[in-house]
Structures are given as C-alpha cells and as structure tokens.
Amino acid sequence: MNHSPASRNSQENTPPPRILTLQIDGQDLSGRADETILEIARQNKIHIPTLCRLDGLSGHGGCRLCLVEISGQNRPVPACLTYPQEGMVISTASQRLQDYRRKILELLFSERNHVCAVCVSNGHCELQELAVELGLSHVRYEYLHPRLEVDGSHARFIRDPNRCVLCLRCVRVCAEVEGAHTWDVMGRGISSRVITDLNQAWGSSQSCTACGKCVQVCPTGALSEKGTSVAEMIKHRHFLPQLLAMRTNRRE
C-alpha cells in the first residue's frame, strides 16, 4: 500500500500513474509517477537516512536528512516529498550530501539536551542511530539547552521536551490516525514547542485518548512510558502499518 497524497486522492476515473525510468546512484530503475524518490530508492535497497519520515503518516519535509541531488539542479531536494520525472538522474550519497546530513544532525544535537547516557531510549533511539551512521563525533556549536520542564502529569506517559527533535510524528499520528489532534506546535522558529491542547499539562488534556500512539512513534526519548528506566524504552511501531491496512480492508 502506498500513502503518497497522489494515490490517496486518486479516483476510479483517473488514469493509472505512469511508469517512469530513472537512475539512482548509477542504477537504472523504474518507478511509478506517484511514488516518491524515497519509496523508489527503498524498493531497490538504496538506503537514504530519514528522521521525520514515518510510513503511514503524511510527509513533513522538516528534518532535511533525506536530501538527494538531482542532476541539473544545484539545490538538493527532500527524497520523501519529491516525485520522479522521466530520465531523472539522482544521487543519494555524494560527499556533499553526507557532509550536509552530518551537519544537520550536529545542529539538532546542539538544539536541546541529547545526553544519551541518562536517556530512557539509549540504545533504541533513532537520533542516536543516525549519529552513529553518519559519523557525528562532536558538536562544534554552542549547546542551546533550553532546560524545559518535564511533564509527568499523564497517568501512563512522560514527556521530556528536552529530547524532542520536532519531527512532529506525534502531532501527525494523533491528528491523522487517532483523530484526536491533541498535539500541535506552539510558537515558531527556535522557540517552537510541541504542546497538548491549550499548552496545558498532558494529564489535564481533555482531547487525549491515552492511546499511546504518539509515544510509540516518537524517535527519541521525548515521549516514553512511565516506569521505564535508562535504556529500557523500546518502541513498537509495527502497529501503524497494521492498523492502516486493517482500515483499508474495512473500507473495501
């Protein structure tokens, strides 16, 4: 199944998407016009790092880690939101891209507090895995460490905004899959914060159904289950493709 916006909107009377040929990292491939470059790459075992992307949720394009180069264009584009064109020549792993990805990660690490040794997600954290994969060993920038208050008001979950990378998976899964839209982002720029309802304690939220989807999709230790200790928080994401598949079946 495919969740690109084009396929979601497609109706019976529209013609089937075109099949295109393109080249990724020297390989000649074919792909559908309604599949993103990221999807086509993954089908062909070409790995592109991602962070905000999560299959089953709408595209966001905020983390910029999946940037790829298209020949003839100077500026790299996000693979998760870019659709192919006939004859496109794409490069996913040039030195320049690797540099950019590492530096973007470096910025993320400087933004909040990501000290792994004391984190519930240590060893099971997507941010940590990316740092290893991209070879980020030190951060040259000032640590901004805004020292945000940890919210333990919810009966089952804990929110530590200091670990948040603003990927907005929680916002999207809550609005798009659960339908509660408990989360959103307040403020803007560097002072953006993920909030519940009217920026209130999570435990006091009247829209939250306590389903825990946000906790499971969170890539870091920003959202976790109560009672987990360092390195104990293991997230389960397989529910999302399953849930969406079941819903599709029910509709048909």
Partner: protein, 550 residues
C-alpha cells in the same frame, strides 16, 4: 448595477469639472510618514483658515497619498503652483493660504525641479500625492478603471496575458519571475476553480513601498487584480495585508466597497458576464507569510509554514486550486501597461528588467522617502542625486538592498545600474525595494547580526537548517561583535552559511545567509578586526575584552 462606459466617462467628467472649479488646490500628505508627524492637524488647520476667509469655492484642501519626501514631512503641496512646503506646522496654514495669491517667490517654489523629484519616473506612483485615495471618483478621473473596461469589452484573456508578457513585467516582490509566464501557467491549469491573491504582507524591515501604494492609490491595485482575475478566469481573489498597516486596511476596505457599489467588482462586471469577488485577509505578524505557500496556509487559517515546491501554487495553491500570487507593486503596474501598451512599458528600463522600481530610500541619507526610478538607474544617482548624499559630512560605506534576503553593496559598485541581474551579480537581490544607506558609523558585522536576528525570530521552525542554523549563526555573529570569537569560528560560520543556504526548505532560510555572505565578501577586514584585534572599526560594538595593541 451595471456600469457602462459612458457612466465611467460621466464620473470622470464630473470629477474633472469639480477639480477645475477650484482656482487653487492644496494637497496635504495623509500617508503614514506624514501622519506620524502631525499632517492631519495641518490639514485641519488649513481647512479652518480657508473656511474663516470664506474661500471654500476657490481653494480646495484635500488629503492625498504619499508625496514621497518622507524625511521632510508633514508635506503640503500647492498643486496649482508647483509648490512644496516641507516640515509644516498647523500654524503655517495662514501663510500657505496667503502665498496662493501672492506672486513673491518662496523657498517652496519649483518643487518639480528638485533632483529628488526630477530624477524620478512615476508609473506605479503616478497618482500618489495627487488624488484623494478615499474617493473612487478621483481615481476614475485619472483614467482609472479604463484599462479594466478595455480588457473586459475588447480583449480576450489570452490577449491580456500576451500583452503583459510582451511588456516584460517581472514580479516586484523580490525574485523577478516574469509576470506573463506566471499568469499563463495558471491559465493553463486544468482545474476550473482558480484564485488570485495579492501579497501585501510587506515584512522587510525598512521597506514601506507597498504600504504607501495601498494607502495612496488603492484602486490601482484593485484594478490590476481584477484584470488578472479576468485573464485567468478566477472568480475569487484575496488581498493578504498586514494587520500592522491599519490605514492601508481601512483604505482598502473602503476602496473595495466603493468599487462594489459602482459594479466594478462583484457580479457581471460592466455587463461583460465576468464576475469577481475580492476579499481582504489580515496577516498577523509573520514575515514568512510573504512566502507563497506559507501565505496560502495563512489564508486557510493555519500557521504560516511553507511546504516544499513543486507543486507550485500556479498548479496547486489555495484549497488545492491553481492560484496566482503577485505582490502589490506588480499589480499596480498592470493597468498602465494595458492603457498605454506593452511597447511603451518595454521601452523603459534595461534589456532584461523593464519598467520602473519603487524604492523606500532610508538610512544615512539626507532625503529619505519613497522614490520610483527606471530600472537601470545607477546607485550614485539614487543615493547622491535623489537622496542628496550622506548627512553630516559622513562618508558612504554601503547600501543594503533586499532586506534580510539581500546584501550590502560597497562603494565600488555605486556606478552600477540597478536591475535584477546586476544586483544578483554583486551578491544582493532586488527584493521588494527597501534601500538602506550606511555610512562609516555602521558596523557591517553588526548589520549582518541584525538581519540574522530577524531571520532567526521569523523562521517558522519547520526545517532544522533554518530553525537551528539561523540561531547558531546569530550566536556566532554575536560572539564576533562581542570580541569573543576565534578564527575557527569564522570558518565554522562560513560552512554553516553554505548549509543553511542549500538545505533549508523555503526562501526564507535559503536566503537568510545572504547578508552574512555579502558582508564577508566586501568587508571581511571588519570581521577580522573584531576577531583578531577585538576592535570594531566603526566604533559601534562594545567589546568584552579591550586588548591594547602595542
């Protein structure tokens, strides 16, 4: 009501007759600059004097839009005698009225020959300062809505687009995208519901061109939007205007209501079968909403966060429909092009940049204000002839164009003619038209820091390079201006500029590094002085440590 051509002519004739009934016409600037130094009181005082002397039949006193020379406000012009009084106070009213009948020469005479005015070429601003922006009759008397009428009765939509394309008009919002091409892209889109949006969310610090046009001649913008809507087959349009411009908002509301009353907007305009509904939408203080996709999100009631393009709004914009977005100045150029023809317009300006450009000239320059010059006019003419040079025997250092997305142009390029290409070549951009002159008292590192602070606080926060990158760039620049930076920081900063420029999601982030890159290019020695010697050559920054050089 259905407006016919002869109705328009009648309105125009009646208005002309009304104007000619007066022997003397006194115009008092009622745009924001002059209002802020008391021009309303000046107008009231003039009206009082005229009434006291029972001259109402001979002397007309009216409020008009921007007279241009904002630094010398409040301005009063005697339109019937080419006289411009500067810095007026309510107590001057008596002598101004006395002067109408006396033949003695005053300092105010011969305003038209002042270099500030004589070097200008007014198309967009042709009515600014001569008509009352709150009366549609005056706009009609100044050939207003004639172009819309011509378009509706005599031209097909394709012919309109052809005319705009031939004129060579390019978007005045900053990037200079060809307007005709943009229009034809929207016109070719498959979906039948289309929208026209006027971007009046002018947010550059130091830019007030669009506001002046909206305050001084709102109907001109309405006419341009309506012509575009006809050319594209759009039935609905929006003007997205900053809430911070209350006067512009008020005058636009009034203008739309007047146009609707005369049947110039609304259903079956001028009996042509074409209907167009135009509404205002207020911005709420977010610079990023000048970006097309963010602006659309804002009109839809969402936080103004951009999304990647393509798809471009021309294909999928407001509510997923094809949408044209042009800025105020672009729309203000449309009616004159239709009225006088594309050949006339294309003859003005340079080979690739046609027509004129409005600039808000400000900073360390003697005469500041709103100016309009042909594309290709040199910076020397703008700064030294129109602007009158640097005050207090100061020395010119740089001129900043394009606001937070632009750059600083040093002395060596003063001779350069201003157009889209030449500005890009020297590392700046045309931008929307802010032009800030700086002298030796401005520290260029601090100027870069100022713009970075702006970008940092205006970043929407969606993508990492812009959200965190601008913050870290600002931190590095602050370190430099405080004398705490190391040579290594300069290298880190240049690398970070490249990252933010190439990996940010939208134009705000992609251009946020420009002020740093351009000052590094021309004023690198100032950066070095801060870092190596903890010294600010402009004596502007206060250094954390003062280390005396042997």
């Amino acid at each position: 009501m259905t407006l016919k051509h002869k109705d328009l002519q009648q309105i125009a004739a009646a208005e002309e007759q009304r104007q000619q009934g007066f022997q003397h016409r006194i115009h008092v600037c009622q745009a924001a600059g002059c209002l802020s130094c008391g021009s309303r009181e000046v107008q009231e005082s003039l009206e009082q004097v005229v009434a006291d002397r029972e001259l109402e039949q001979e002397v007309q006193v009216k409020g008009v839009g921007c007279l241009g020379l904002c630094s010398a406000g409040p301005l009063v012009a005697v339109a019937s005698a080419d006289r411009l009084y500067q810095g007026c106070a309510p107590t001057d009213a008596g002598s101004i009225v006395d002067g109408l009948t006396s033949t003695a020469k005053t300092d105010a005479d011969g305003a038209g020959t002042l270099p500030f005015f004589s070097k200008q070429h007014k198309i967009v601003l042709e009515n600014c300062g001569s008509i009352d922006p709150e009366r549609i009759e005056e706009y009609i008397a100044a050939e207003g809505y004639a172009a819309l009428y011509t378009v509706l009765r005599e031209m097909t939509p394709a012919e309109v687009i052809e005319e705009i394309t031939r004129a060579g008009l390019r978007g005045r919002g900053g990037a200079g995208y060809p307007t005709g091409l943009k229009w034809s892209t929207v016109a070719k889109a498959l979906r039948q519901t289309r929208y026209v949006i006027c971007n009046a969310d002018e947010g550059d610090p130091g830019a007030f061109m669009d506001r002046s046009v909206l305050e001084s001649d709102p109907h001109r913008v309405l006419e341009g939007i309506a012509i575009a809507a006809y050319a594209l087959g759009a039935a609905q349009g929006f003007i997205y205007v900053r809430a911070e411009y209350p006067l512009a908002v008020k005058r636009l509301r009034k203008a739309i209501a007047q146009a609707e009353r005369l049947g110039i907007l609304g259903k079956n305009i001028c009996n042509s079968g074409f209907s167009f509904d135009l509404q205002l939408r207020l911005g709420a203080g977010a610079f990023v909403c000048g970006e097309e996709t963010a602006l659309i999100a804002s009109i839809e009631g969402l936080p103004g966060k951009p999304r990647p393009r393509p798809p471009y709004p021309a294909e999928s914009g407001l509510k997923g429909c094809p949408t044209l977005i042009n800025n105020v100045e672009t729309f203000a150029n449309i009616a004159p092009i239709i009225r006088r023809g594309s050949d006339w317009f294309a003859a003005i300006g340079t080979e690739k940049s046609k027509g004129t450009k409005v600039f808000a000239l400000a900073g360390r320059v003697c005469r500041t204000g709103l100016i309009e010059v042909p594309m290709g006019t040199s910076l020397t003419e703008i700064v030294f002839e129109i602007g009158g040079g640097i005050p207090d025997q100061g020395r010119f250092k740089a001129v900043q164009t394009g606001g937070p997305s632009g750059g600083c142009i040093p002395e060596q390029y003063l001779h350069m003619g201003v157009d889209y290409e030449s500005l890009a070549q020297v590392g700046s951009i045309m931008g929307s038209g802010g032009m800030i002159v700086m002298d030796q008292s401005s520290c260029m590192v601090d100027v870069a820091r100022f713009f970075m602070e702006f970008c940092m606080s205006e970043s929407c926060g969606k993508c990492v390079p812009c959200r965190v990158g601008t913050t870290q760039l600002h931190a590095l620049l602050s370190k430099i201006t405080q004398g705490r930076a190391t040579p290594g920081d300069l290298a880190t900063m240049e690398e970070l500029c490249d990252l933010v420029k190439n990996t940010s999601l939208c134009g705000l982030g992609q251009t946020a590094a420009n002020p740093v890159l351009s000052t590094l290019r021309y004023f690198r020695d100032e950066y070095r002085a801060h870092i190596d010697n903890q010294r600010c050559p402009a004596h502007h920054c206060s250094m954390a440590t003062t280390r005396e050089r042997p």
